[in-house]
């Protein structure tokens, strides 16, 4: 009788322990995804890229900024010309993304269609483009 009770208690303990380990691991995975999204956001909004005036043919490192959060329209247009797979490989990211830029006179989107099934991280930041205030959206999953 006592042996059965001990067995069941041990089983419950093991299930609880596995649950805790699993939830810790999945929260670490989410943190990793968040980190990658934030790094990608930083790359687009704070960096100029390489070479400084890069185009779709000679780009080594992607960045859309003239200065932090002030974006270069030429670089945005060059990015649109590029194949999504090539962009992903230059950025060195594991996940997928979509970006949107909206100002009063400009509107663009680039990247994969945002899925409804996956957990998608959305980032929204103010930007300046052609002396206009606008919004930059990054979806990362």
């Amino acid at each position: 009788m006592q042996k059965i009770e001990f067995g069941i208690a041990f089983l419950i303990f093991m299930i609880s322990f596995s649950f805790i380990v699993f939830s810790l691991l999945s929260s670490e995975h989410d943190t990793g995804e968040n980190m990658e999204g934030e790094i990608l956001l930083e790359t687009f909004l704070k960096e100029k890229g390489t070479p400084e005036n890069w185009n779709s043919a000679d780009v080594e490192k992607i960045g859309l900024a003239i200065s932090p959060n002030v974006l270069d329209k030429n670089k945005i247009e060059e990015l649109i010309k590029m194949d999504y797979k090539d962009v992903k490989s230059i950025l060195g990211i594991k996940g997928d993304f979509r970006i949107s830029i909206k100002t009063e006179s400009y509107n663009m989107s680039y990247g994969k269609t945002v899925p409804s099934y996956a957990s998608v991280r959305k980032f929204e930041r103010p930007i300046v483009l052609d002396n206009e205030l606008g919004e930059f959206y990054l979806y990362y999953w």
Partner: protein
């Protein structure tokens, strides 16, 4: 096994389920709140950078509005933050906007206006609606 034995097993199962739910809920809640506040801080910092980079009347929007119309700066911040975020502005200790009892993130910025060496200590308070 008698009824007492079954009751003890049931008790342990229920206690285990309660413990698991509580731990999972608490750890998820803490990590969501922490990342939300970090995101709010980044939005605030970028808002201050953008308003100082936005050209306006031969200078930056921040410069113009600090010298001429702080209310304009308060309104413009509303165009920079997401719809689910509320905010208040403070310039040299004077507050513009609402008070709140919600958890607030504060972003600080110091703007020095060269010609008259005026120093503006700017703070924006951000919180989720």
């Amino acid at each position: 096994m008698n009824r007492k034995g079954y009751a003890r097993i049931l008790e342990s199962v229920l206690a285990g389920i309660l413990m698991i739910s509580f731990l999972t809920y608490t750890s998820e809640r803490i990590s969501i709140e922490r990342s939300d506040l970090e995101e709010l801080k980044n939005i605030g910092d970028d808002t201050l950078i953008v308003l100082d980079s936005l050209p306006y009347e031969d200078n930056s929007f921040m410069y113009y509005s600090l010298k001429n119309n702080p209310d304009l700066l308060y309104q413009k911040i509303g165009e920079c933050v997401p719809e689910n975020v509320d905010y208040a502005l403070e310039i040299n200790g004077k507050r513009y906007g609402k008070e709140t009892d919600k958890e607030t993130v504060v972003c600080r910025y110091v703007k020095i206006v060269d010609d008259e060496t005026l120093i503006y200590k700017i703070k924006i308070y951000l919180w989720y609606k």
